[in-house]
């Protein structure tokens, strides 16, 4: 007697080991499918049910999801790049060159990291423009817009701190100029500049500080705010869709006005 594939799947899902990990159990009823989302630590950020028009391409162009995609690529490639990179002077520049010319697939990973970083900044802006012009930032989603602005700042800081790490002329002068901008802050500008660089000029301390910010502090902050950002989508009533309120019943309730309108 042949055993069907879905029977095997059901048997695995019903096994004790599987049930110890995924508690929703066998079956594909609405309840089971909802539990599968709700009881998974990663998926429970999202709603168990969404309207079909919310997940249509036209409503969001998937810009937020694509931004997350570039972020995940950046995390993976970034960790791999860290295995060959020493944040010290002048070793950093040599390591960057080694990654390009000596390490197997190093050029690919470095370029993937670089292009994904550029793309992420672009996608964040595109996502925000989409949200802004659709009016999706309005009540009840205004706080999620604020979290989005925080994520924009984190993205730009990640981009900025990563810019120094190749330790070439472009990086050095870009960070010299960029860090001097912080000196323009009234009263404490000079102190901010000194703390940011760990000195008066872009040097070994600045490279190490930017490395720690780029690889530890800012990614952790980003992950934290991304989690809140996604959770708020569910809490604020799902993804924003234009014209979610049907307008026809209002006219139907008042036949006189409807007739006059004709």
């Amino acid at each position: 007697m042949p055993i069907k594939a879905d029977q095997i799947v059901e048997r695995v899902r019903g096994s004790r080991v599987w049930r110890s990990v995924f508690r929703s159990g066998t079956g594909s009823s609405t309840l089971h499918r909802a539990l599968a989302i709700q009881q998974n630590i990663f998926l429970h950020l999202f709603a168990t049910k969404v309207r079909r028009r919310m997940v249509r391409f036209s409503s969001t162009w998937y810009l937020g999801t694509l931004t997350l995609g570039t972020f995940l690529i950046l995390v993976v490639t970034g960790i791999l790049l860290m295995l060959y990179y020493h944040p010290s002077v002048p070793q950093a520049y040599a390591d960057m060159k080694d990654l390009q010319f000596v390490v197997s697939s190093g050029l690919f990973l470095r370029n993937l990291h670089r292009w994904s970083a550029q793309l992420m900044v672009f996608l964040v802006f595109a996502h925000m423009f989409k949200v802004f012009y659709r009016g999706a930032y309005r009540t009840p989603r205004e706080f999620n817009w604020v979290i989005g602005v925080v994520l924009l700042v984190i993205t730009l800081l990640l981009s900025y701190t990563g810019y120094l790490l190749p330790w070439d002329q472009l990086a050095f002068w870009a960070i010299t100029v960029g860090s001097n901008l912080s000196s323009a802050v009234p009263l404490i500008g000079g102190k901010i500049h000194f703390l940011l660089l760990g000195g008066n000029q872009v040097n070994a301390n600045a490279l190490l500080r930017f490395y720690v910010l780029h690889c530890v502090v800012l990614p952790l902050a980003a992950i934290l705010f991304i989690a809140v950002h996604f959770w708020r989508i569910r809490k604020d009533g799902g993804l924003y869709v234009q014209q979610s309120e049907p307008k026809a019943p209002a006219a139907a309730a008042n036949p006189v006005a409807a007739k006059e309108a004709k």
Partner: protein
């Protein structure tokens, strides 16, 4: 507890309230700890020793500089100028956003590659976006007869060093 709520409400405001007292003590000590954390963090994050090049630069013998010449020391970021009136040193770091400017011999001006600021040989601003002229730096002749520059000390312009 709910039963206690009416009794505390009836208390006159002057009566010693143990709970409020401990709340104040607790919040106060948390506040002190928070301020302490900020101070300690600031202290920790500002390095006490810097391994940066010395601000005092030995530019060598004054005779090595030709009359009416502008010499740039790229490593220390200064210009050494020998004019008819005497010697002087300029900070080569642009007053706009800290790029290193360059001397253009053909045009006879100092120009910044980053955002196009231009200065005369004496540091005066010809063209923005730099907000200020290039500062003059303190110069003197050492006991060995070398021309010395202190990059950390600005002096008013047009104070030539006559040797």
């Amino acid at each position: 507890m709910p039963e206690e709520a009416p009794s505390t409400a009836k208390k006159p405001p002057t009566e010693f309230d143990r709970r409020a007292f401990f709340t104040k003590i607790g919040l106060g000590s948390l506040g002190i700890a928070a301020v302490g954390t900020i101070v300690f963090s600031y202290e920790y994050l500002s390095p006490n020793v810097l391994y940066e090049p010395s601000a005092i630069v030995n530019a060598g013998k004054p005779e090595n500089f030709a009359l009416n010449s502008v010499t740039m020391d790229v490593n220390s970021g200064i210009y050494l100028v020998r004019a008819d009136e005497g010697y002087f040193a300029l900070n080569a770091v642009c007053t706009h956003l800290g790029c290193l400017t360059a001397w253009n011999q053909d045009l006879g001006i100092i120009a910044c590659p980053c955002h196009g600021s231009k200065f005369t040989r004496t540091g005066e601003k010809i063209e923005g976006p730099a907000p200020k002229p290039l500062p003059w730096l303190k110069t003197w002749v050492s006991d060995e007869g070398d021309l010395m520059v202190d990059r950390s000390i600005d002096i008013p312009p047009l104070q030539y060093l006559r040797i």
